[in-house]
Structures are given as structure tokens and as C-alpha cells.
Amino acid sequence: MGIDNIIFILIAVGAVLLFSKNIKTIARNINLGKDIDLSDNKAERWKKMLMVAVGQSKMVKKPVSGILHIVVYIGFVIINIEVLEIVIDGIFGTHRFFASFLGPFYNVLIFSFEWLALGVLLACVIFLIRRNVLKINRFGLKEMLGWPKTDANIILIAEILLMGAFLTMNASDYLLQGLNADHYIQAGAFPVSGTLVAPLIDGMSINSLIIVERATWWFHIIGIFAFLNYLPYSKHFHILLAFPNVYFSKLRPKGQFSNMESVQKEVAMMFDPEADPYAAPAEPVGEPERFGVKDVTDLSWKNLMDAYSCTECGRCTQQCPANITGKLLSPRKIMMDTRDRLEEVGKNIDTHGKDYTDGKSLLGDYISEEELWACTTCNACVEACPVGIDPLSIIVDMRRSLIMEDSKAPSELTSMLSNIENNGAPWQFATNDRLNWRDEN
């Protein structure tokens, strides 16, 4: 084992340790949410996950970005087989380890990796053009200014560099194989790098080619380790969470909102003729429960997982009737705010301990009442999301807090609610007139 193998092992172990530490923090943050039981309907959940996450069924509703995304997605999944080989080579100092026992099939693999790498590279270039030159509207909305835009560009440029390095590595290897260089066994098929990249470096000496091959090999694998550790800080984390997030997404009809159990008990008591109105209230057990959602810790863990799964594509906002007509509400911003606030709460716990409060909350400091009241609860955002995110449930839970905790609502809504209370209709009409339609024309 040479010194380079030891360096490789140290980098790999360091990268994995750092990554798992960050994953643990994210899992801890998600678990700050309220518990809900989503262990039901396993078969249906698997089916939905296969369709929507693995099969990308919602992505292709926008054919251009959908198909380009599938190229990158398949490229990512398949090229990871190559990464496995690179890791083995890195640890043991072998070269193209899989070639030794895969035989001709190895050539088929490399052949397909080459084409996929080119596909990923081109798709990412087109994505960059869409974001920065064509300036597709959904990528330029208010909430995307600053870091979110940079984040997206970093990801795309990183992928282009990684694929570029991969193809250059293959090209130099191809040339070295042609020159019968030691250690560079005859293995692989290089339809892309052999034609596109090799001519650029052809004619270099064996030693120079080895330097190119080694440099791109190291750049590629260190790049992958760096990218892995970038994920937890980025919207790109969706590549991991998309799958569980779709699995745990809502299976009920979209129009069915949760019936709050805490309210159910009180209402049942009011309808119970046996209930003693003068009875002393039962001893409260633990902290009194808050109605609705004020801060991220009032949300369910699924809402919080939604926030970490969001890749800020903006399909939700693009479909939102309120946003289309210029209102402040953007379902994507609701998810980005939720994640930002959750990260803040997480950091507070890390620095100040579990019981620290910073006096801020998701509702108010991040999401305004105006945004919440603009929602028509039409479910367009939920329908549009390719990874099973439900921004609507957060919006409604926050309205619950505004109404039931703070008695805050637009005045017309307050009158509507008191009409229902007084005469069983949202308008001020007498119950006795309910059948008048029968005798009118």
C-alpha cells in the first residue's frame, strides 16, 4: 500500500464521518417536529414512491426540464457504480478493478457511463443557460435572490466539472492503454472521451498523460467527496430525501384536511348531555397543547422533512393562483422559510442547549399573515410538487394558530365566522329562510 492509498483512505473516511455528522444533525432537526403515524398503507406508499420518485412521473409534466432531469438523475445513479470502482482502486491501488472479473460486460458499463456523463454535462449546461441566460421566470422570483441562486449555480457547475474530469480521466487512460503504459490494462470502451477529449491531449508523453490521468482521477473523487458534504447545506439534498418524502406523502384525498384531535375532545364534551358544566377541569397533563402552528417545532416531522426535501424548483409557485396574480404568497417560499427557521432553531440548540428560545418564530418573523390569508387552498402546489411536499398543510396550520390562539383574521372573515356561529351560514341569513328557494323563480 502506497502513500497515496493512505491519503485516499484518510480523505474518504474524513468525508464519510463529516457527512454522517451532518446527516445526524438534519435527522435531529426533523425529529423536532410533532410525531405523526405514517406507518399505514405500506404497499400503496411503495407504489407511489416507485412512480413519483423513482419513476419521476411528476417531473415529466414539464417535458423539457423533466427529460433533462431524468438524464442527470439516471446519470447520477448509474455513474455511482463507477464511483464504487474508483473507491476500491483508491484503497487498494488497483486500476479498473471491475474489469478483471466483469470481462466484456465492463466495456458495456464504461461505454454507457461515457454517454451518460456527456448527457449529464450537456443537461447541466442547458440548465445553467435556462437559469442565467433565458432567465426562466420561476427561477427569478423574489425568494430566489441571493444564496438560492448561487446554490443552484454551484451545483450545476460542480456537476459539469465532475463530468469533465471523468471524461478527461477516461481519455488519458484510453491513450495510455494505446501506448501500452504499465499498470494501464486494456479495459473499457471510450466512445465519448476517445473522440471528443483524447485528440486534445494526444501526442503527450506517457509521463504527462499519467499526470493528467492521476490529476483528473483525484479531482473527480475528491470533488465527489466535497459534493457529498455540500449536500446537507444545499437544496440538492433532495437527491436523498425525495424518496422517503414521497413514501410518506399524503395518500388521503387532497381535499381532506386533518381533524384536530385536541379540538375533538372539547367539542365532544360540549355535545355530551351528561357532561357536568361545573366540574373542575381535569388536571392538565404536561404542557398545554398549542392550537395550530406558530413555530417549526409545532409542525409535524413530515412537514419538516418536506422542507429539507424541497429543491426550490418553483413548480408549486408557478401553479399558485395567488402568486400568479401578484400576491405575496409563494408556496416555495413557505418551504424555504420553514427550512431556514428549522436550521436556525437547530443551531440555537447546538450553541445554547435544548431549552433556549430566541424569541422568534416561523409565523411572524419568516412568514407573514398576508401570505397566509392569500391562499385559496386549491391544492395546485401540492399537485405540482414532484417530491410529495404539502405546503398547504403548513399554511392551514398557521391560519389555525392565527385564529384560535391570537384571534387574528381579516375582519370580513371574522364576520363570516360569526355568521356561521349565529345562523349556520357564512352570510347573514335567517335559518328559517333556508327553504325559500323552493317557492321562488
Binding site: T377, S415, L435
Partner: protein, 270 residues
Amino acid sequence: MKDSIIMSNNGMKVNTMAKMMAKGETADVLFWVGCAGSFDDRAKKITRAFVKILNHVGINFAVLGTEESCTGDPAKRAGNEFLFQMQAMGNIQVLNGYEVKKIVTTCPHCFNTLKNEYPSLGGEYEVMHHTQFLQQLINEGKLTVEGGVFKGKKITFHDPCYLGRANDVYEAPRALVEKLDAELVEMKRCKSKGLCCGAGGAQMFKEAEPGNKEINVERTEEAIETKADIVAVGCPFCMTMMTDGVKTKNKEEDLKVFDLSELIAQANDL
């Protein structure tokens, strides 16, 4: 005719659950009229059109009349879960008291609430939207639609959010348009991508937040683009929003707004 049936001034036969129970009779289906259908002048016409069809087919139905109360939908969407559950429990007591098994309603909001949100509170019924009910009557051969009136007309259908996306009912209303012998033209955003009229989530009862356009105008423009003669709706709130939108665009002459039950009643000259 059974003597317990009340003839209204305009020749409709509409029974209440209370009257039927007093006579020891039961209705096959309860027609849940809803608040808009009971009080809003435009929506009341939808209610009457649907009743005329029910009478025409001879459906043994009844309404709750003064015993009906808001399902609680707008309260729930506005965030007042307490008021919603109070309404729900009250309604469930009434419905269960009459041993109601099957409900049909012309309002997708009532439909969604009764169908999806009442069961876990103790109210389990078979709930249908009136477009589903009408499609079933047609499929069973109980209702035939005379196509003549609408032959050659273009009709576009505006999906109500609480029927379409909320409950995945897209085909029943479209099947009705086809029965009218009219040409069904789709708006750019339709079915699961349909654009809301702007009234859902208790927006019906308040001014919109500041923006650069009203949602109903955006939707109406899309309907106008189809060059349809009629925009068919299946919801009393969509009816209000689309009618207002057409007025705003001064297109009252070119684009009429009707509920599907009204179109069927017109086709059959009821």
C-alpha cells in the same frame, strides 16, 4: 302523488326529511343544498334546476330545509377548527337522526367536507357530487339528455378545486358536457392543472390580498381564449367568480356561465 310531498309555487316537488319522517317514509337520497344554494340568488337557480331534474327522473329525495346548517368548510379552511367541528357534530347528529345513507350535493365544498372530513367525527355517508349523480342516472338509463339545444355550441368546463384536485373527479362533469351534444373545449389549465376561480379557502368571503390582478379575471381570460359559448361550472362559488369575471371583461353577450345541472335542465326543457 304521495300527500306528504310538498308542491312548491313553481311546480317542484320538494320534501323535507322532517315531513317524511312524520309520515313514516324514508328518502332514498338526501339533497344537501348548502348555504350558497339556499341563500345566494344565482346559486338558488342551480338548486332549482337540479331539483327539476330529480323530479323529472322521479328520484325519491328530501332536503333538510331549516335543519341544514353550514358544513363548516369555510370555517375549517379559515383555520377555525373549533367552529368547524361544532358545525360538523351538529350536522352529524341531524343526519344520523334521520339515518341518512346517501347524500348528493351541488356544492363541491360541502361534498368534500361531508365525504372526507365527517367520517372520523362519526358521520359516514355515501356522498356524491351532483355531476357524478347525474352521470350515474344517465349511465343507468334513467335520464336521457336531449342534445338539440346545444348542438354546435362550444362549452368549456371550469374544474372546481374541491371536486377536481381535491377528490380526483374530472370525468363526470365532462361526460355530461358530451351528452349535451356540444363540443367540449379545454382551457389551457384544466383537470389536475386547473386554475382556481379564487374563491376557495374562505376567499369567497373576503377581499383578495394586494396583487396585480384578480384570480377570477385571470381564469375568465383563459375561458374567453377558448372561444367557447358557455363556461360550465359545478360549484356555486365558481359560479359567482366566473360570472363576475365575465362582467369585468364585458363579455356577457359572448360567454354565458351555467352550472351543468342548469344546462341539462335546459336541454330537456325542464
